[in-house]
Subunit: 256 residues, 2 copies
């Protein structure tokens, strides 16, 4: 069931009609309402070919790198097939996610673009995003092979959704540098892989056959027992794998 | 100087006209072209009131949390003032960035939304994003105080652009939990702070008075000497502060 503009307006507790930012009472203060004139949200999704979208993303990487690449392979392909509202989106904005957003090496841009696309076309996006991120952490990537290239690119397991960890692990496995052509090619192929997986998941969601298969790892559950919701410390929400950063807990942390 | 649709098409090396995904030759493979039917990119920016935008973002947090909040305070305000093309944007999509994207605690959603907004309205977005991220890492936040609230929320220095680090540091300073109402309020106020800073920077850029003042910290430069571009190891690009994750380098790392 998709959320209509009327439902969004009701949810925000404001009168329907004008599409400007209007204040209503909530939490003792006013809240803002959705200013979009766009069609009902989420935007409709229809089945895509995962391999075709992967090819588009690989090629899109050349134009705008990782985040732009995944978003183009999914929403750009829908724009090609359906036109509006997809073709009203300012695709070039998505270049901002490159290298973990403006090269700050935070969230992998391929995931950032895929997550945006998932939320744009889903009613219940979170399980799909969780599955994609869980898959990304433990899968050996890249596996995509461009049709016209015989160049071999070694793959690695990122163990993290962060650009820095993902790339530095690949550098360690391959003994290649992060500013090398091979690393650029690795990220272009990984962008294609993330798109392919995302489209497979969205197709499953559309067909009603989606079943999550990537659970939170046991060692992360161990961390969650003391640090996540309802725990003694409760100082984080832990979906991401903790161990690539907390590889050394120091002497102050109790033995686990 | 803004990039026109014609320039984008020329950049991609394809014939002007149709707005579908067309292949051209590059890197021995075909690349995809911008499928947007939208107006010239970037979208035009005009001066906003930082405090008004901050209020909108604070209220927007209630609707869609951090990423939605900052994006609404900037692009939503432009939509209110200018209409198209801003009001064609599917604002609700930006909810995906909540809690570091789908609650994976990676990039702070307030920064994710602000970075998207910066790239949407800037020709040279990177210095503005760098400045915002650098500021976020060392500033004591939040400082925003809602007009109708006397509730005091303690502030903290994140030392990182990551949601997890930013929130866990605040929990440590305040001795409060991450699922507490106070932490929600802290993030709503921080969202307002990030918007205010972003609008100030965009206004400076518009007036031609922007000067970066947040340099890469000395201890990060030390890491970059061996790990960034042109170095011996060259296994990352380091803008983010390394020390909140690499707080213990272990015995294998050489003394620094």
């Amino acid at each position: 069931m998709k959320t209509t503009r009327r439902e969004i307006i009701q949810m925000l507790g404001v009168a329907a009609g004008t599409a400007v930012i209007s204040p209503v009472i909530s939490r003792g203060v006013s809240v803002a309402k959705e200013p979009s004139h766009a069609v009902d949200f989420p935007w409709p999704y229809s089945r895509l070919d995962p391999d075709v979208s992967a090819d588009i993303s690989y090629k899109g990487y050349e134009v705008g790198r990782c985040m732009y690449g995944t978003f183009l392979g999914i929403i750009g392909k829908l724009a090609e097939e359906k036109g509006a509202p997809y073709n009203t989106f300012p695709f070039l904005m998505m270049k901002y996610g490159k290298g973990g957003v403006a090269d700050w090496t935070t969230l992998c841009g391929a995931l950032n673009g895929a997550a945006a696309a998932i939320y744009l076309v889903s009613n219940k996006p979170e399980p799909i995003a969780d599955e994609l991120f869980g898959w990304y952490q433990i899968e050996k990537l890249p596996v995509y092979q461009p049709k016209d290239s015989k160049l071999e690119i070694l793959s690695s397991v990122s163990r993290s959704t962060l650009c820095h960890v993902s790339i530095s692990r690949w550098c360690k496995v391959t003994n290649l540098k992060t500013f090398s052509k091979e690393r650029e090619e690795r990220c272009a192929r990984l962008t294609a892989d993330v798109t392919k997986k995302t489209v497979e998941l969205l197709n499953q969601q559309l067909a009603g056959t989606f079943e999550p298969v990537f659970p939170i790892p046991e060692h992360v559950k161990q961390c969650r027992a003391c640090h996540d919701k309802g725990s003694t410390i409760e100082n984080t929400r832990a979906k991401i794998d903790c161990s690539p950063c907390h590889f050394n807990l120091g002497t102050a942390h109790k033995k686990i």
